[in-house]
């Protein structure tokens, strides 16, 4: 039982990171109907922003730091940098191609992804870096041997707050309403006087800054970062978005959690070698029976 509780917690903290990345995929798909394959690398840039900001704010590389205020500042800084990057990518790479076939823009996204990965290797170096410990990890809960540290809890809470914030923006604000309108029908939305370009830019900024936040949380939980770290989590988050129903925001969050838990359980109870095979096999089965994803509906309100 102890082992089970611990595994659930391991899975949730991993899943919440996937969920944050998946949100960006799903939002951009909702607006533009295209998969932004560079999204995993924006996540990597987020982690590296945190690394360099951490060093700037006098955290020694990997050394201890305990100031909550500084940690939040670094989180916000990394989100801003990633948001800016997402904005720039859209303006430079995707916007000129908006009228081109979907395949062109998809290939461009792969190009942007490779560009970020290998410029990362050139600039940051290919060897893994030790992420500064922004918050000290203290054993928080000890349930008859299942030790739950403070960092996974911080990850869960931060991810939860960010998702709540996103929900507020999408459902309660004017720009959120505009996003939903563009997602529903871009032509009609522009006829109603909605500035489509602004909405798309905003979506990229929000989605990318969430990926940046995921980068920081990842570094907090698994303190070794490298320029190719975004590939696999990016791919898995994409699958999470599809699993939850692409274009559906709560679906992405749910999908991320499910993938995180599945991976952890397969690794812990069956075999780490088959981790991805079994986790993705289950996904294929799920999608066979529910092709629109768990929460996706045929005519759902998409953002």
């Amino acid at each position: 039982m102890t082992e089970f509780i611990q595994q659930v917690f391991n899975g949730l903290s991993l899943g919440s990171i996937y969920a944050l990345i998946a949100l960006g995929y799903t939002m951009i798909y909702g607006i533009l109907r295209f998969i932004n394959f560079a999204h995993g690398d924006v996540f990597m840039i987020g982690a590296f922003s945190g690394y360099y900001l951490g060093i700037m704010f006098a955290f020694s590389s990997g050394g201890g730091g305990t100031s909550l205020a500084l940690a939040i500042l670094i989180l916000l800084g990394a989100m801003a940098i990633s948001g800016l990057l997402g904005f720039t990518i859209e303006k430079l790479a995707y916007k000129p191609l908006r009228k081109s076939p979907k395949l062109t823009i998809l290939i461009t996204a792969i190009g942007v992804s490779l560009f970020l990965e290998y410029s990362g290797q050139l600039i940051f170096g290919a060897d893994p870096k030790s992420f500064p410990s922004l918050l000290e990890n203290k054993p928080l809960i000890n349930l008859s041997g299942a030790v739950i540290g403070s960092n996974p809890v911080v990850v869960l809470i931060t991810a939860g707050l960010l998702m709540l914030g996103l929900r507020m923006i999408v459902m309660k604000t004017k720009i959120g309403t505009a996003m939903r309108a563009v997602s529903y029908n871009p032509t009609a939305a522009s006829l109603m006087g909605i500035n489509i370009n602004a909405v798309i830019s905003f979506t990229f900024i929000i989605g990318s800054s969430l990926a940046g936040a995921a980068g920081i949380l990842y570094g907090l939980n698994y303190p070794s970062i490298d320029p190719l770290m975004g590939i696999l989590p990016g791919l898995k988050a994409f699958v999470a978005a599809v699993l939850g129903g692409i274009g559906n925001i709560p679906g992405a969050a749910l999908g991320g959690m499910i993938i995180g838990l599945l991976e952890t359980f397969v690794t812990g109870y069956i075999s780490p070698t088959y981790r991805d095979a079994i986790a993705f096999g289950i996904l294929i089965l799920l999608l066979l029976f529910k092709p629109t994803g768990l929460l996706g509906k045929k005519e759902t309100e998409k953002v």
Partner: protein, 379 residues
Amino acid sequence: MKKFFLSLVVIISGLFFTFSGCNKGGGNEIIIGEFASLTGPNATFGISSTNGLKLAVEELNGSGGLLGKQIKLITYDNQGKPSESQTVVQRLIKNDNVVAVIGEVASSNSKAGAPICQQNKIPMVTPASTNPEVTAIGDYIFRVCFIDPFQATVLTKFAINSLKVKRVAVLKDVKNAYSTGLADFFEKEFKAAGGEIIEVQSYSAGDKDFKAQLTAIKSRNPEAIFIPGYYTDVGLIAIQAREIGITVPLFGGDGWESEKLTEGKAKDALEGCFFSTHVSTENPDPAIQNFISKYKAKYNSMPDAMSFLAYDAGMILFDAMKRAGTTDPEKVRNELAKTKDYSGVTGKISINEQRNAIKPAVILEIKGGQFKYKETVAP
């Protein structure tokens, strides 16, 4: 279209000849090739070994060179990948016309490069690949370090006699020949010595999340955990083990040897853990201390076991060339095989029939991020 391909062929073959022509001359030079992981997840392996080898080359060139010629070292980065290792070894032999190859630290990479050296009958000396299969590839492949069955014996003795543990869990890297090999040898030895392997879990190099495996290990209450991996993964594993409340000591082999092992949070997580390796920098032996001061003067950093071994790998190769009186690969190979009691910086080196070196191992303890000498185990 046909014309296009034809011109392409002409251009490519033209390029090939230009490049292959470059290094043919070399009348006053002996060209030695090295492949090493200068970048990638295990970059310190390649950087340390290349630095050690360069020191050997410079020293020899400074004292008049070899056979009246200067030695030229060509080092290519394989990014720590087996596939890349094949490419660069091919390039060293075919384009740069090297007369011998030095490399690699990681056994998976050595195993990728060795068959190419063997096919072309170019002697290869690996400084630090401990997997037994590496030198079994052919009679042109040598090593200057001990092999993993011996390392497993050393670790078993240490676990039972010094750590006094009987119930051990193993966490190995399934993608890595060194890790799976050492894990298998250890399991066999440890069981034969009366110990119990209570859990075997695995991961793949590059994984960042080990909590699921560690949670499974923790539920079996081992007295110690054996992790035969490389330093990058070991650091992360240790951090996560401590996070989920595993307090027992962790121990491993020479793959832990890197100053980056105890970087960041891993410093506290690995406090009081142990690993076996080739040499201790605390050893007062003048050969070792002399090497350290030379290395420090040149690179302004401490050498690790890989630097020592690469220096020795270079030196026994040059010694064999001196004895052969030529750089003819076959004659050099024959002399390499005859190496006996060569005094290297890592001790006396004798090459046995399997082209392996028989040498003692040391156990180091991690204290405050430093590697402290614990004991020496003779073969």
